[in-house]
Symmetry: C2
Subunit: 107 residues, 2 copies
Amino acid sequence: MNQIAKTPEPPYYAVVFTSVRTATDQGYADMAEKMMALASNQPGFLGVESVRQDGGLGITVSYWKDTESIRKWKNHAAHQQAQQLGRHKWYSSYRIRVAKIVREYGN
Amino acid sequence: MNQIAKTPEPPYYAVVFTSVRTATDQGYADMAEKMMALASNQPGFLGVESVRQDGGLGITVSYWKDTESIRKWKNHAAHQQAQQLGRHKWYSSYRIRVAKIVREYGN
């Protein structure tokens, strides 16, 4: 997890999920791990990068083949349940941005 | 810095900068702060979100009005110098992805 994702030649898609946590830890780590594993097994999943600062901002970027894969993952039953808990229990604020990756480079 | 960026209605653009640091701290924190301040003053800059895990992955997402603003910031003289130091001194690996944000939602 804690590394740079190996993604294919663009174009492909990304979901940038930025969030601030509440003080409620109950069930969070388990669910985060479970959702990460589940996402990785969805059709069209290309990779994920995730970092959270203790008590601060978290950024998770997941990469997908197309917007249809993203839509299906968003609507996945177990993920829907996790999203609801996230909104009500674990995140004081969050933002989700869906993006088309058009260019990529690095070392 | 350590909060969710207030961005306008899509479409707009993002640069997702993912990196792993070397053990070399010399000058890094100062330069990171300087570049963040400089970026914030560039035309077309819309916001930034940045998180680094101690000794691990860092993700910085900067938001921009258009690809021309991104191109100009990439080519900014002081930023070019910082990029060169980054490649040779501070980052063992990094990836830069340029993206068009097409949809956004949150609480």
